[in-house]
Symmetry: D2
Subunit: 261 residues, 4 copies
């Protein structure tokens, strides 16, 4: 019956000032909605649709920003890792390691992440069924680390489109691990703009609402002050100035779901 | 900001006594939740998975039951039609004609249904995109009848499975017509039991909740006192003794969505 | 080890002259490839994407043309039926009744078609698995008519696209009935042009070749002298002037498959 | 108009004796069919469905076997790589580096593979459209290495199933790079046995035939003397004693397609 956690931030870390500006706005919105929040930012986009896509600031610069945000705002921070040897250094700064969907079956990465003892948010591969995630969680849990989050981010549905199956949330919840709805990447149109992915920002809120109505423990929303000019995932990021109102509505559904009275 | 409408009843009409028993229970649940309701029952199952599946009572017997329920309970009644020449006689009794998903592109049926002047609930074909339904609605509206409901009931997702895309509801709502969530057939596993369809009753409530959180105008739920022994769609019907509690939860989400305060 | 049958003709019957012109060209191509052929033409397009799509000449005019082609060329003729009461009159002229994919589970239509004693070509619904077609065939066979053809025409694959699963052909062949590859509608992009369906004419030949390499008994190809201006299915019809060359290649694969030496 | 290349071998390398036994049989079959061949074997299965799945012999032992096979049989050898730093050492032995489907968008791996100068066989991600592979190839080609093969291995189709889209082969061929059909993994049922993947061995030959009928440049077939007891991918490997006959049929279709006479 605890409120859902908001995982929010830009797709890519751009600078400390930028991260601080967004974190300030997210903190305000989360406080107003009485929702705990986790700051999210990526230091490397390792699987862009095409070579021209920006990669990011790199691990050192990225971790510096995340450490500063964590110190300044007192919030947990999350970032994604792409190789086993990134896990330990990243876990020295970061509270939640995130496993990208494409890498959700890579045993060595899952084990290395688990061994850090940090919380692990594993995105469900677009090519996996929700029940397959029990085996993914087992890989992590084999390290003795049970601080696992399982995250829906859409399943492949024909070409260049995903579909979010709301059955996936209760199915993954049967593992006993908290379930996260990534409302940002679920509305991605992978490869849908030729050299980059398109997206359908207008469906972030409906999918987040739907997920909370079926009991999601956390919602993942990428946000930016100017999504259309962001270095990645612009088409599916929510403008930061819409976050507070959206969050208030999400929190109400969440409260209703977890405290049905 | 009006409450959602519940469309409920057995898959197949079995007898007047049976319909009356279910209608009594549905009425109680709907009243307790302060939700308007429509009684649903089919007189013919025209597209069973295999020849062995029961067809139903036939039009005359079916309409007699629906007329009796309507008179006794004062509720609107709904049934599905499968051929153009059924529309006029059915519309003499029934308030809402329903177009089955497989038949959602059959022009003659859509026109005949529209011409009755009755309300028309068109199920979205499992093979259609939500935006395709604007053209389906246009066919009906060409008769001058704009009393149209567009209904999500799952999209084909590989073999023997459907997926419910919550984006479908706001997309279909852009037509201006009310959107219905068929939470019963969306959890069907078509042909999943060899000679009949399987189903996942446990996801009816999550999908109905999700749909109301994104603003559905109505929810369609088939129900039965003993689903496992019902003549059709047993695996996805909700036991009648669970309806009242489910409905109360649905109504709370609906109220929150339509009156965000 | 008999050669595959070619089912070919325009999507819509347009006039006797037009049908005769196409039949002449098809006959030449089929003779050159030593392939038996069946003339195909529709008198009614009962499920157009939108109301603006042309419906066709109607049953009487259509059957007249088909009867003339049959008499003049000595070839069997095929057309599709959309309602049970069309089956008997159509079967008086036509050798093969075709059940449209959307209607492949409509029991009354299947039974009425079966009862004519004509051969029946059932298109597999875009929403069906190949193994589901055994039950469809059983419905027809229950009339005592075993002259059944099962036809692959693509399965729903996300929105507005189909995919042709080559496993489908051997799976359906396990019923013992001949299997047809509809290479024209398999490359349809349903609803892909907004008010009408798009198509990918360039993949008709690859899919037909693939199907014959896995043992298809017949191939269905719609053709037209000017597909881009045809009243329906233009985007996926093959220009008639390419048919002869394509057919020669198809026949060679077919011969290799059926007579592996 | 050159004959297709056969890429064949066990899923996992088991021992030098085992590899030699299979290579001997593959060589005989390939010679009889006049087909060039490449020996394939994995030293690490990095993304098993569950932790219990066997990982393999490791890089050192694996490369030793591949080097021995290459020396003994004079054939090129292929193996898959999972991390950027594996590429250089593996390329010292191996002729073709293979990028696993799940990793087909990992930029660092693609670049590291490209930089070795070896030929690169990239499997198309189950979550990618065929046209997305042009961007994948561009990443590799940016290293100056254009020795690229693009490989179809099935696209996600609902849960726990793949579908092979034959349009994919001509679409990927538009890049100008040779296209490979992985007939083994295309018939995988991912996660379909709970803790491991199932498969449909009986469709390997149909899919390979279909692919050659549409012009595939190479076919990938895993094979084993006792697939049901192999350490991985048993359900979709072809018994080695069926390879020679299958290959003869494949070569005939290939010849017909490339030399239509």
């Amino acid at each position: 019956d605890a409120p859902f956690a908001l995982i929010a931030g830009p797709c890519q870390l751009e600078s400390l000032d930028h991260a601080r500006m967004l974190a300030t706005r997210i903190a305000e919105a989360a406080e107003a909605a009485n929702t705990p929040w986790i700051f999210k930012g990526s230091y490397d986009k390792a699987n862009r649709s095409s070579l021209g896509g920006k990669r990011g600031l790199g691990m050192d610069a990225g971790l510096e920003i995340l450490a500063a945000i964590k110190a300044e705002f007192g919030c947990p921070v999350l970032t994604d890792v792409h190789a086993p040897d990134h896990c330990a250094p990243v876990a020295q700064v970061v509270d939640v390691l995130q496993i990208p969907a494409f890498l959700s079956r890579q045993t060595d990465l899952l084990l290395a992440a688990g061994e850090t003892g940090a919380a692990i948010n594993v995105k469900k591969g677009q090519f996996l069924a929700p029940w397959d995630m029990a085996h993914v969680a087992d890989k992590i849990a084999s390290t003795g680390n049970q601080r696992i989050l399982l995250c829906e981010r859409g399943a492949s549905f024909g070409y260049n489109m995903l579909v979010s199956d709301m059955r996936s949330l209760p199915i993954m919840a049967e593992t006993g691990y908290p379930v996260v709805m990534d409302a940002t990447h679920s509305v991605q149109l992978p490869g849908g703009q030729g050299t980059s992915s398109g997206g359908q920002r207008q469906y972030v809120e409906p999918l987040a609402r739907a997920a909370l109505a079926v009991g999601a423990a956390a919602v993942f929303i990428e946000t930016h002050e100017d999504p259309d000019n962001a270095p990645s995932d612009g088409p599916n990021m929510v403008p930061i100035n819409r976050l507070a109102k959206m969050l208030k509505g999400l929190r109400a559904i969440d409260d209703l779901t977890k405290n049905p009275g």
